[in-house]
Structures are given as structure tokens and as C-alpha cells.
């Protein structure tokens, strides 16, 4: 197991370097430092001296190889530098963004996963009946609606018409949950269509397996088959999806957070997009990719824990 883990982590290193290279190439080679400087200096017609000063200050004047070295070295050590726009340290922004992102994303994720699996079991149980047909059709309808619309409609219906929750804002303390309820609900609703369809397919695949027929033949109740046999066996793809989602709880959702005014990392990214803050976007790309790679490693570990065959295969290598 430890050997497997080590191999898996070592394999991730080239990917991290690749991500660094892509973001370096995109940001440094395609945009000239002058255009970046012009964009970010506040005066309308900056003097050449001002531009030069900005370039030197942000380290864009050194040779390319040297820049890549410092760029990568700093990212690897989590020295993120300062924002292109307001020159505040990015690390501070990220530190203050983690909390709100997690507070929104964790409940949304837990409720969403539970609701999705429950609904998928429900429609799978009634497979081939009207419940299944219409249920599946509803899920196709739901996944055809843009997430933008879920958010706008949710704010309008629950926030403005029914006045059940504040439309936007965020406040630490006992009242935090009030600001979380609406975005979390909207997030769950927006995600249901696609994921229930996916889980339903996974479960129906299991339902055609021989062991289900055997269980039925020996007289097991349909609900026992569903919960004991099918749910357990469809855990692998579900685990994959869940483990892949966990790292992204940290980065939050760009759209949700910007619409609902939650000062998390998604909102940070949104502001950076609006103001053209390349330094922040670069860091977010790096963190996002690191978390993704972490997610794949987590997935592989959970495979190894859940499925003995993977463990044995890994040991044999």
C-alpha cells in the first residue's frame, strides 16, 4: 500500500510541472509585460518610467528562464506574490477566502450527495415504470437549464417573492446559516439533473448483473437487494465522483459566490476576472490543479481501500 501510494504521488510531479509550464506560457509569453502594466497602472497615460517601474516591481524584466524558475519555485513554496491590481499579497486574500467557500460548499456537497443518491435509488427502484420514465425526463429538463437561470430564479423566487432568505451578503457568526441556505439550495437543485442521471445509469448497470438475479432467486426482498447489494457495488463510481469533488470544496464556485456575494475564493476569482488580475488567476489555476491532482490521488486510495483487486494488483506491480 505504501509503495503504491509513493508511486502514485511521484507520478503526480510531472503533472504539477506541466501545469506550471502551461500557466507560465499562457500568462507570460502571450501577454507582453507592457500591456499588463498599462492595464494595471491607474493613470490613463502612464509615462514609460511608470511602466518600467511596474515591470521591475512585479519581476517581469528578468530573462525568461530565470522568470520561469522563480515563478515555479515560488509557487511550489506557496509564495504567491502580490496582486497585479491592488498589490496586496495574494496569500492573505486566499487565506480569508477559504472559510466562506468551505462554509457554503460543504453543506451543499453533503446535502447534494445525499439527495442525489436517494433520488437515483428511487428511480432505479421503479425502473421501467412511469415513475422512471417521467423522472428521467424531468432530470433531462433540469440539466438543460443553465446554472445562471437557477441562480437568478432562485434569488427572485425565494429571496424577493417569498422573502425566505436574504438575496445576497455574508456575515460570520450565528446568522451565517441564513446566507448559506439559499445558495446551497440553488446549488443542489442545479446539480441534481446531471448527477442523478449518472448515478441511475450506474445502478441500472449493476441491476443487470448475475448476483442480483441470484439474490432475487434466493428470495431476498427487493429493498434488501437495492440497499445491500446494488448500492454497495455501485459505490466505486460514486466514490470516484465524491472524492473528486472534495478538493473543489476549497475553491468554491465562481458563479454561486459572485451572485450571492459570498467573499470566498470563487468570488476572488470572479473579481480577478472582472479586473483582469492575472496574478490572482494564475495562483487560482495552480491551486485548483494541485487540488485536482490531490483528488485523483484520493480517488485511487479510496479505490484501493474499497476494492481488494486494486490493492492486490498494486502489490503485484
Amino acid at each position: 500500500m505504501i509503495a503504491y501510494l509513493t508511486r502514485r504521488i511521484l507520478l503526480a510531479i510531472p503533472t504539477v510541472i506541466g501545469v506550471c509550464f502551461i500557466s507560465f506560457a499562457l500568462f507570460y509569453l502571450v501577454r507582453s509585460p507592457e500591456s499588463l502594466a498599462r492595464q494595471n497602472i491607474s493613470s490613463k497615460h502612464p509615462t514609460p518610467a511608470q511602466i518600467h517601474g511596474w515591470i521591475v516591481q512585479h519581476g517581469y524584466d528578468k530573462p525568461m528562464g530565470k522568470q520561469f524558475e522563480t515563478f515555479m519555485g515560488q509557487l511550489l513554496l506557496f509564495h504567491f506574490g502580490s496582486s497585479d491590481v491592488d498589490s496586496e499579497p495574494i496569500a492573505d486574500k486566499i487565506r480569508s477566502g477559504f472559510g466562506p467557500s468551505l462554509v457554503l460548499a460543504v453543506p451543499e456537497f453533503l446535502v447534494g450527495t445525499w439527495v442525489t443518491i436517494a433520488l437515483a435509488l428511487f428511480v432505479a427502484y421503479y425502473r421501467g415504470t412511469y415513475v422512471d420514465t417521467w423522472g428521467t425526463f424531468c432530470f433531462v429538463l433540469m440539466m438543460s437549464i443553465s446554472v445562471l437561470l437557477y441562480i437568478i430564479a432562485g434569488q427572485y423566487i425565494f429571496g424577493k417573492l417569498l422573502k425566505l432568505a436574504p438575496v445576497m451578503g455574508f456575515h460570520w457568526g450565528l446568522s451565517t446559516w441564513k446566507f448559506i441556505v439559499l445558495p446551497a439550495t440553488v446549488g443542489v437543485l442545479a446539480g441534481i439533473g446531471g448527477s442523478v442521471r449518472f448515478y441511475r445509469t450506474v445502478m441500472l448497470e449493476e441491476m443487470n448483473q448475475d448476483y442480483v438475479r441470484t439474490a432475487r432467486a434466493k428470495g431476498a426482498a427487493e429493498s434488501t437487494i437495492l440497499f445491500r447489494h446494488i448500492l454497495k457495488n455501485s459505490m466505486i463510481p460514486i466514490l470516484t465522483a465524491v472524492a473528486m469533488a472534495i478538493p473543489f470544496l476549497f475553491t468554491g464556485s465562481i458563479l454561486m459566490e459572485s451572485f450571492f456575494g459570498i467573499p470566498g475564493l470563487g468570488n476572488l476569482t470572479y473579481t480577478a476576472v472582472q479586473s483582469g488580475d492575472f496574478a490572482v488567476i494564475r495562483v487560482m489555476v495552480y491551486i485548483g490543479s494541485l487540488l485536482y491532482i490531490l483528488g485523483t490521488i484520493l480517488t485511487d486510495i479510496s479505490y484501493a481501500l474499497a476494492d481488494p483487486r486494486v490493492r492486490v494488483g498494486a502489490a503485484a506491480q
Binding site: V140, I145, I254
Partner: protein, 340 residues
Amino acid sequence: MIPWLRAPELKEDLITLLVIVCVLLSARALWVSPVWHDRMRRLWRSRAARVALAILAVYALFAVMDSIVWHNPPYGVTKSALDRVFERQSERTYSAPLAHQDFGVRNPRPLKTWHLLGTDGVGNDVLYDTLKGCRTAWIVGGFTLIISLPFAIVLGIVAGYFGGWIDDAVQYVYITISSIPTLLLLITLMMVMGPGLLQICIALAVNEWVGLARYLRGETLKHREKEYVMAARAFGVHPLRILQRHILPNVFHLIIISATLSFSGLILSEAILSFLGIGVPVGTGSWGLMISAAQMELAREPVVWWVLTSAAVALFGIVLAANIFGDAVRDALDPRLREG
């Protein structure tokens, strides 16, 4: 940034026609091919598929109408067929669907003409704006696939068949790309390239080829070990010919299924990017831009609902039709993947 990407509308017109012609030609090729005819018939027998196809065809019709452009000799005004049929006089400000006067101002004045879906804040006809979005949607869905499919097919199959360092290289590239979260990669690419319809297609294509290439590589790995490929290899058939004559036909249905199923996702992504302000430039017909401009209108008193609703319904219609058609294609082409 890249000069030829910044040219005026001519390119969009040509691309729309290219997309539609490609779709029609490949549909015809599949219909007349002896191997595919049965599966195409099976697809056609599904009523859901026919209805969805009809809806997609209506959107395509508007897209083509918007791309056929000609001059009026005396004044030299260039307008598309869509402009000539649907363009209406601008009003001063909002007006409700089929209303006779301005909306929400103290002294409403009569309108110059009638508007089926009303007008937006600067008085533009909402129906016309909405129809303008059809071309954008078809370009984003179709042209992205035209760019990304060749990469996905060639790289996926070659990596799977030859293995070795080619496989390692291809895998490395797509693992690296896929480890950047999708929306962040799209944002990065769009910020670097600047807003524009073709830039969106390129950015989406960079994301898009990865999934299919990975899938095709896996399928090719399976086929590589089958007897018919072994036999071909034993006869000394050139590897490229094996790929073309033996592997490709056996994975071709997967390519078609994947392409139709991803069409809707591409359109939704464009709406989000345009909404964030890094998609198509302002002035292009786009439902994402319309939603972005209309998002605060629900907070007005009295509520202005028709701009948002029109854009949302148009977006929903094409995405739903594409999803239903994609499901029908999957059911008809690959019985093993059929649900239920």
C-alpha cells in the same frame, strides 16, 4: 492578440455555413452508407429524435439566415436575411410584449411599431436579439467540435494503438490539461486571447478533445488485441491502414455519440463565459450576454421579465433538444449503452 481572429463578421458567416454543411454532409454519408443505414433508420424511428431534430433544424435555419448577407446597391447597407425579416425599429426604452406604449416611465408614449416579445432597456426588439443568438450557439457547438474532433480522434487512436512513448506523450498532455479545473482553464484562455466567438471555440476545444481522446485510447487498447487486428497485422498491412480500415470503423459510433452529447454542454459554457464578460464581445448576439444584461431587471419595480425569459427559453430549447437528440443517438447507435 492574434490578428486574423479579430476580423469582422465575414468569418462567422462562413463558419456557420461550414458547420451546417458539415452536419448535412455527414448525416447524408451515414444515411447512404450500407453499414450505418440500419442504425440511422433506428434513430429516425424514434419520435423523440425526430422532434428534437426538428427543433435543432429551426435554430439552424435562423443561424443560416443570419449568415446569408447581401448589399442593397443604392445605399450599400449590408444586412443578413435575418435582419431583413426580423429587424424592427428601436424604441426609447422598455416595452412589454405586444404593448402599445413605453413601459415603466411616468409619461408613456406610444410605440413606433409592435414587438412580439417587447423591447429591452435601450429599446431593441427582444425577439430579434434572441434570434441573433442562434448563430452564436450553432457556431459554438458545431465549430468547437470541428476543431476538437480531429485532435481527439487522431491522438486517442494513435496513442492507444502504438503505445510506447507516443502514448506517454499524449497521456501526459491530456492529464496535464485535465488537471486544470475546466472553468479556470476556460477563463485563463479567454483572458489571454481576449473576447471573441472564435476564441471561445478554441478555448472550448482545448478542453473538449481531452475526454474523447481518453475514451478512444481506452477503446483502441481493447481492439488492438482482437483477432481481426492481429490477422491484419500478420498479413503485413500498414499500421496506418489498420487504424483507418479496422480500428476507426469500430470506434466510430462512440465518436458520433460523444459529439452529439457534448454539443449542449458547449452552448451552456458559452453562455456562462459571455455572462462573465469574457465570452463574445458586446454586440454579438448571445443569450449569455442577454441574461447578463437582464439579471438586475427582476429587481426592478414593476418587474421586467421578458428579456430574461426570452433568452432563457431560447437557450433552454436548443440545449434540451440537443440533450434529447444525443440520448436518442446513443440508444440507436450503441445498444449496450442504452439505459434501462
